[in-house]
């Protein structure tokens, strides 16, 4: 009986030895490792290219340093979740990572990001960055925690062939909401098989619903989501109801896609890949990065999109104010607060974002440049015929209120649009549901009637 028992014991003992051998030991003298986490998908490899170049450059210049690239394959939501989970524990937190501008503030609150002010002082390139873009990496305490990679704007993209067929004068520039509806109705009367003017709505398209749709409407009514002065969320605004009513008109009259199609999370793929190239869609609100899908090497290559597509700023409700509305997002690079090598990490960040790498990345992903030396480059200006138009929108653009409550508020807005386009609620009902939801999320004290 002793024999088998001993054998089992020794087996377990050896298993334990093997297990402990798996845990990483202390690094040997001299060799250092930087862990870099970023997003990579089959249609988004620009960042991969940039980091591969930076890795080679950096490792050649810094003997004994290994840059460990850890791409995460997934859409924006999944990438954000995975990154946040990695940041929770110091042992998994990356040294340098790709960070969405609208998460910067809440991640600073969480203590995940390293304050970069002292490093930025000594970086001569920092002066070349656009002031508006720099603000995206700044937290409530005034410090800078992230370096912007690029930004984007949103505008109406329209198919010139569809518009010409309906007898609409080009270039098209609607001056208010009514003109959008008039044009859309004209297109529908001319060819009922075409979707005249689509705007994303519902929870299926997630942030796309609000960034490329609802916020263009809301901010064009003079209302807003969040009052920066009082730091309170706006409820009970007429603009909110009006915006929902506009969506209702689009969907009820069949000027947009069917509600069922709108709720499909993959509807944007059809917009870029099928409907625009096949002249089945008149217009939609989309990001300045739209050409990246159509240009050579994009996911939906479309030779001739330069001639067939047009771009126009989204108008305000009645043409007042600045006359146009746009929303901006964009991504940054940040450094983990717990990094053991802050100087090395910043040095890698500045290598990854030097002029040449920034230029290549900006061109590759159809971003709007945030560095003056990239913006002046002739390659950037002639990348596609729309660069100038969408870049000019930076002057009217808005950013999301990136507080930690924002994801829930955004979901409540998406829910309101979904209820309206499916006919479950009237715009007034959906707006009051939203008000109740906001009060629930942030507490009644943090809301303001406007």
């Amino acid at each position: 009986m002793r024999g088998p028992a001993l054998k089992t014991m020794s087996l377990i003992a050896s298993a334990l030895v093997v297990l402990t051998a798996c845990t990483p030991g202390a690094p040997e003298d001299g060799s250092k490792t930087l862990k870099v986490v970023y997003q990579k998908t089959d249609s988004f490899t620009a960042l991969e290219t940039m980091f591969q170049a930076a890795k080679q450059e950096f490792e050649a210049a810094n003997q004994g340093v290994t840059v460990e690239l850890q791409p995460i394959q997934g859409n924006d939501d999944d990438y954000g979740t995975k990154l946040a989970l990695a940041l929770r524990s110091p042992s998994t937190a990356p040294d340098v990572f790709y960070e969405d501008t609208f998460k910067v503030r809440s991640d600073v609150d969480a203590g995940y990001l390293l304050k970069l002010d002292s490093h930025l002082e000594g970086w001569e390139d920092w002066d070349k960055f656009d002031d508006g873009a720099k603000a995206a990496g700044r937290a409530d305490d005034g410090g800078t925690y992230a370096v912007p990679l690029g930004t984007d704007t949103r505008a109406i993209w329209y198919n010139r062939k569809v518009f010409e067929a309906a007898g609409i004068t080009l270039p098209w520039q609607p001056r208010n909401w009514q003109e959008i509806l008039d044009t859309a109705r004209k297109i529908k009367a001319n060819d009922p098989s075409v979707v005249p003017f689509n705007m994303y709505a519902g929870k299926g398209t997630g942030e796309g619903t609000v960034m490329q749709g609802f916020y263009e409407l809301l901010y064009g009514t003079g209302s807003m989501l969040y009052d920066e002065e009082t730091k309170k969320w706006v409820v009970g605004s007429a603009g909110f109801t009006d915006s929902l009513a506009f969506l209702k008109t689009l969907y009820d009259e069949g000027l947009a896609v069917t509600p069922a199609e709108a709720l499909d999370a993959n509807v944007w793929k059809k917009v870029f890949g099928e409907w625009f190239p096949n002249a089945k869609l008149g217009a939609t609100v989309e990001g300045s990065y739209a050409p990246s899908f159509w240009q050579d090497g994009g996911s939906y290559e479309w030779p001739g999109y330069e001639q067939d597509m047009g771009v126009a700023p989204f108008p305000t409700q009645d043409g007042g104010g600045p006359g146009a509305v746009s929303m901006s997002g964009g991504w940054t690079l940040a450094i983990g607060a717990g990094t053991k090598e802050p100087d090395l990490a910043f040095s890698f960040l500045s290598t990854a974002m030097n002029r040449d790498n920034s230029l290549a990345f900006t061109l590759d992903s159809s971003q709007i440049a945030v560095r003056s030396d990239v913006a002046e480059d002739s390659g950037y200006q002639s990348a596609n015929p729309f660069v100038k138009d969408v870049s000019e929108l930076v002057s009217v653009t808005r950013y999301r209120p990136a507080t930690s409550d924002y994801p829930r508020i955004s979901a409540a807005v998406q829910e309101a649009t979904e209820a309206v386009i499916t006919g479950a609620r009237s715009p007034e009902q959906a707006a009051s549901d939203y008000d109740a939801a906001v009060a629930d999320i942030v507490g009644g004290d943090n809301t303001i009637r406007k």
Binding site: A84, S106, D109, A260, S404, P407
Partner: protein
């Protein structure tokens, strides 16, 4: 002598030690962590990410007034009853009974077809089901070929679609369990009943089913617990939509914890799910004991 038997008694448990350690680390650990997190305001990011506060039962109080929670609970029950208890269980039993009577070739073809869905990894099965039920999917093309209406299944009938998909995916398991059980039913008993003049249905109801009730209870327990936890299938097909119309508890927990970054609230939903699973498990184990008597 006594000391030696004591040592020997302890040594006897040694072989199960690795299993117990693994269970504790990978199962009990996360469960306890989730339970603890559900009493805090832990977030994925923001102020409460690294230093969450203990907030007692607040998350559970929030659950009680959240209009989505009762809906989600109802959908979970519907999903489990519809796709596991009724769908997989009855269909599996029917297939197993019929296959005993079928020709060998027919039974082999049917068996392979059914098991094929079980062999597929969950994510692959989920995409296949999405491709089948989606707007331009296989089902609608078939219906179109017959000149019938082509509803948007995932939008108009999301629960029906995910229930059917889960039946398709899971029936093989019940079928295999029942085939094994039926093979153990001695043919003499059935023959004796036949001599006494019992018809086919009577033999099934009074002879076969009572003799395999142990397997029925085991099967029910396993598929119930499995179906309670189904996430990938629903997430890929509908992501819980439209308007939460197919968000069962696992989907709700994921959305709260990771989409909205509210880990405390998400783990509270997950804890409720564990409790429901425990109740089901206890009921079935009770049934199993009684069937052995």
């Amino acid at each position: 002598m006594a000391a030696q038997t004591g040592v020997r008694g302890l040594l006897r448990y040694l072989p199960v030690l690795p299993a117990v350690v693994l269970l504790a680390v990978f199962l009990a650990g996360p469960v306890l962590w989730a339970l603890h997190a559900s009493f805090t305001n832990a977030g994925l990011t923001g102020r409460n990410a690294r230093n969450p506060d203990w907030i007692g039962l607040e998350n559970y109080q929030r659950l009680l007034v959240d209009p989505v929670f009762p809906l989600s609970l109802g959908l979970t029950v519907l999903f489990v009853l519809g796709s596991a208890v009724l769908g997989q269980n009855l269909l599996g039993l029917a297939l197993a009974v019929l296959m005993r009577r079928a020709r060998r070739a027919v039974s082999a073809v049917v068996g392979t077809t059914v098991v094929a869905a079980w062999v597929l990894p969950e994510i692959v099965a989920a995409f296949a089901a999405y491709a089948y039920f989606s707007r331009d999917g296989t089902l609608n093309q078939l219906l179109g070929g017959l000149g019938l209406d082509q509803p948007d299944w995932l939008y108009s009938w999301p629960m029906a679609a995910v229930v059917l998909a889960n039946i398709w995916r899971g029936t093989a398991f019940s079928m295999l369990v029942y085939r094994a059980a039926l093979n153990d039913v001695p043919s003499e008993v059935a023959e004796a009943a036949q001599m006494d003049g019992a018809g086919g249905w009577q033999r099934l109801a009074y002879i076969t089913l009572p003799m395999i009730r142990g397997s029925i209870a085991t099967n029910l327990m396993l598929i119930t617990l499995q179906t309670l936890a189904v996430f990938t299938l629903i997430w890929v097909m509908t992501a819980g939509g439209p308007a939460n119309a197919s968000s069962t508890l696992p989907i709700l927990a994921y959305q709260e914890a990771f989409r909205f970054g509210d880990i405390g609230y998400g783990t509270a939903v997950a804890t409720v799910l564990i409790l429901i699973g425990a109740v089901f498990g206890a009921v079935y184990i009770r049934l199993l004991r009684e069937s052995k008597r």
